[in-house]
């Protein structure tokens, strides 16, 4: 009793305190979304993560614009060229002035091994600008343009912000396109899982009884299986001849087959916890129909919890897709995803020569971290009165 009682007393005092303050400034009942937002804002890491996630999805939407070149563009001269830094200022006889540029490469050949190494050549200066002209593309299949967010003024100049891979393709551009596939596969996969999960979880929690136990058993069985070998087996069955989008969809479905269980559990738990709450009973006593109760009283309560679970499920999908594509049994080139990109890093000698091939790995970690923090923040904010 002791501790709980003391804490309760302290919380009471605080609640009263804030109520008094509210009374002084003109009393108003905060809406659930306001409460949610206040609580969420105070979780700094979650807030930052929300921006990171937003940024990644902007990349998904505008990949063609953000990437300087297409993912397939290659140049044999720049195989394994190291990353160039963007220099903002330039010094000449007149002193410093603003002139963003990258330095070109000169190639040194080791006289003994004949191995090539790239050296930055301070003599070669290639100016860089925003909204540079480059390869033309159709954004969302609608607007034809050749503007890119950033690029060299001279379209033929080497421009490798994150270096080049074994075919002299721009790692940065490929990363942007990979982000489109990997982040969207999480989203599409979760959408499929969500439909399955909310439906089966809802049925399970709402009806209970035999239906509930059957669904629960199924979930337990699916959760006790080793996912990677299973995924490997299922995705190996996807014919190589299938077109890209079909493979993409098949992989998503395979990932969702396991992914829905977490969502179903969450939804069922929510249903069970709320089903007999006082406010639901009182709504029922007032003669409200079950559907209306579910929609008006239960769903709003669920939304934030479901958002939280969704943003915690997306990373598991991303990690799974990455792992499968990395092994070469998920998405196949020429489709570009983080996993496909990391395939380039599979060979120890390649990464020894070009460690920047790890860049997709860094993005994977950042994306997963951000989604996890975001999910945690949303979940905490979903219970605004809990401390």
């Amino acid at each position: 009793m002791g501790n709980a009682q003391n804490q309760a007393a302290v919380t009471d005092a605080l609640a009263e305190e804030s109520a008094m303050k509210a009374a002084e400034t003109g009393f108003r009942v905060a809406t659930p979304w306001e409460l949610f937002w206040w609580k969420f804002k105070s979780h700094k890491l979650a807030l930052i993560s929300a921006f990171v996630v937003l940024f990644l999805y902007v990349m998904v939407a505008f990949a063609e614009f953000i990437a300087p070149v297409s993912p397939a563009t290659y140049n044999g001269r720049y195989v394994f060229a190291p990353p160039q830094g963007i220099h903002l200022f330039m010094t000449d006889d007149e002193g410093w002035h603003f002139n963003p540029h990258v330095k070109g490469y000169s190639i040194e050949v080791d006289p003994k091994t004949y191995g090539k190494t790239f050296v930055q050549d301070p003599e070669q200066v290639f100016p860089v600008r925003l909204f540079a002209r480059g390869e033309s593309y159709r954004l969302w299949g609608l607007f034809e343009t050749d503007r890119h967010l950033i690029g060299p003024v001279d379209p033929g100049a080497p421009f490798y912000l994150l270096g080049a891979d074994r075919l002299g393709r721009d790692v940065f551009s490929r990363l942007v396109y990979g982000t489109r596939i990997s982040m969207s596969i999480g989203l599409v996969g979760v959408a499929i899982s969500l439909i399955l999960g909310v439906f089966l979880g809802g049925v399970s929690g709402f009806y209970g009884g035999v239906i509930d136990s059957v669904i629960q058993r199924l979930i337990e069985i699916l959760r006790s299986l080793p996912t990677i070998p299973l995924w490997m087996g299922l995705s190996a069955a996807i014919p190589l001849a299938w077109p890209q989008w079909q493979t993409y969809l098949a992989i998503t479905v395979i990932l969702s087959l396991i992914g829905w269980t977490a969502l179903a559990r969450e939804v069922r738990g929510l249903f069970l916890s709320v089903k007999n709450e006082d406010f639901v009973s009182s709504a029922r006593l007032e003669g409200m129909g079950e559907f209306r109760i579910t929609r008006k009283h239960m769903l709003p309560l669920f939304t934030s919890h479901i958002i939280a679970t969704v943003s915690l499920t997306i990373p598991t999908m991303i990690l799974a897709e990455t792992a499968l594509s990395f092994l070469g049994i998920g998405l196949q080139p020429p489709t570009v995803s983080w996993g496909v990109l990391l395939q380039e890093a599979q060979n120890i000698r390649s990464i020894a020569v070009a460690p920047w091939l790890f860049a997709p790995g860094v993005i994977v970690v950042i994306a997963v971290l951000a989604l996890n923090f975001l999910g945690d923040g949303v979940r905490d904010a979903a219970d605004p009165y809990q401390t």
Binding site: I228, P229, L230, G233, A236, A237, A352, G361, V365, V368
Partner: protein, 327 residues
């Protein structure tokens, strides 16, 4: 307790049936039957027509799918016959058990590693909430969960290649790869084992630390802790005997999904590090459409995790008297 065990084992049967169906579906998944693959010349140079007909009869390939399934599963259950690997031209049986043993070994050692590391850290983090150490472990936990196994394997390989000039793949030194089992070979194995164990165990350790910490934080303010304090017990004893003991329960039930995750992690890590476990074998079998081998491996690995889940349930029942009494 005996009734509980019996019930629990009974409940396993539908799971195993479902698992076997999934494995069989994977065997069946590639277009055409495998004899087509066999005859296309990929797997063998010259194929005896008589031999092919014998196989067709053995696997019931001209019969309905459920007969094929029954032939396959009854062969496994009653005769231990997993079929034939076409790539290796040997019974699947001869190929898998050595590797399966190593998978079990690595997964089990990793499990012990996870527990030994995460329980003390979880206790420390909960009892020193918001201390510097707690923050360090929290950050480690989040990163550990976010970094995929294979990426960690690649990074560690890169580091050891770049800075120590050695390749760290494999489970044995070259001298021991083909050697018969001996104490020296076991020692060599153990010397190679730490890397995969760390790689596979990182994510699990990270999540168990979080679970342990959260559970213990829930338990510490409970009245029974205060009551124990009022009896004059030392703080250490109070914690270890009561809240830590109770916080272990969810940790044990977490085993149910930690173990499958370990087997998964073992598969992918072994492929990257080139370890002689089931992972690379499955990978190769899938690539060459050696479907009986692949299906058998998936089946065995699934059975392994199902048994792991069973053990964790039994352990939980043994730990928690309330659960035992319920059934």
């Amino acid at each position: 307790m005996a009734i509980y065990i019996f019930k629990r084992i009974l409940l396993m049967i539908p799971t195993l049936i479902l698992v076997s169906m999934i494995a069989f579906a994977i065997i069946q998944a590639p277009p055409g039957d495998f004899l087509t693959t066999l005859m296309s010349g990929e797997a063998g140079e010259t194929v005896d027509v008589v031999q092919i007909e014998a196989m067709r009869a053995r696997y019931g390939l001209d019969q309905p799918i459920w007969v094929q399934y029954w032939k396959w599963i009854s062969g496994i259950v009653f005769h231990g016959d997993f079929g034939e690997s076409f790539e290796w031209k040997r019974p699947v049986n001869e190929l898998i058990w050595d590797r399966f043993g190593l998978t079990v070994l690595i997964s089990s050692i990793t499990l012990v590693f996870i527990w030994v590391v995460s329980i003390p850290i979880g206790i420390y983090s909960a009892t020193n909430k918001y201390s510097a150490g707690d923050y360090v472990f929290t950050v480690f936990g989040f990163i550990g969960l976010a970094i995929p196994n294979f990426l960690l394997a690649l990074v560690l390989m890169y580091i050891s290649f770049q800075y120590f000039g050695q390749s760290v793949g494999g489970l044995f030194s070259p001298a021991f790869v083909q050697a018969p089992w001996s104490f020296a070979r076991v020692g060599d194995l153990l010397a190679h084992l730490w890397l995969p164990v760390i790689i596979i165990g990182t994510a699990g350790t990270a999540s168990l630390i979080r679970i342990m910490r959260a559970n213990l934080l829930d338990e510490l303010p409970k009245p029974y802790v205060e009551a124990a304090r009022a009896r004059g017990l030392s703080e250490f004893r109070i914690r270890v005997k009561y809240p830590v003991r109770i916080a272990l329960n969810p940790l044990v039930s977490a085993l149910a999904w930690v173990f499958p995750a370990l087997v998964s992690g073992d598969a992918i890590t072994s492929i990257v590090l080139n370890l002689q476990t089931t992972g690379p074998l499955l990978y190769r079998a899938l690539q060459s459409q050696d479907m009986y081998l692949a299906g058998s491996l998936i089946l065995i690995l699934s059975v392994l995790t199902v048994i792991g889940t069973l053990l964790s349930d039994l352990l939980l029942a043994w730990l928690d008297p309330r659960l035992r009494a319920e059934v």
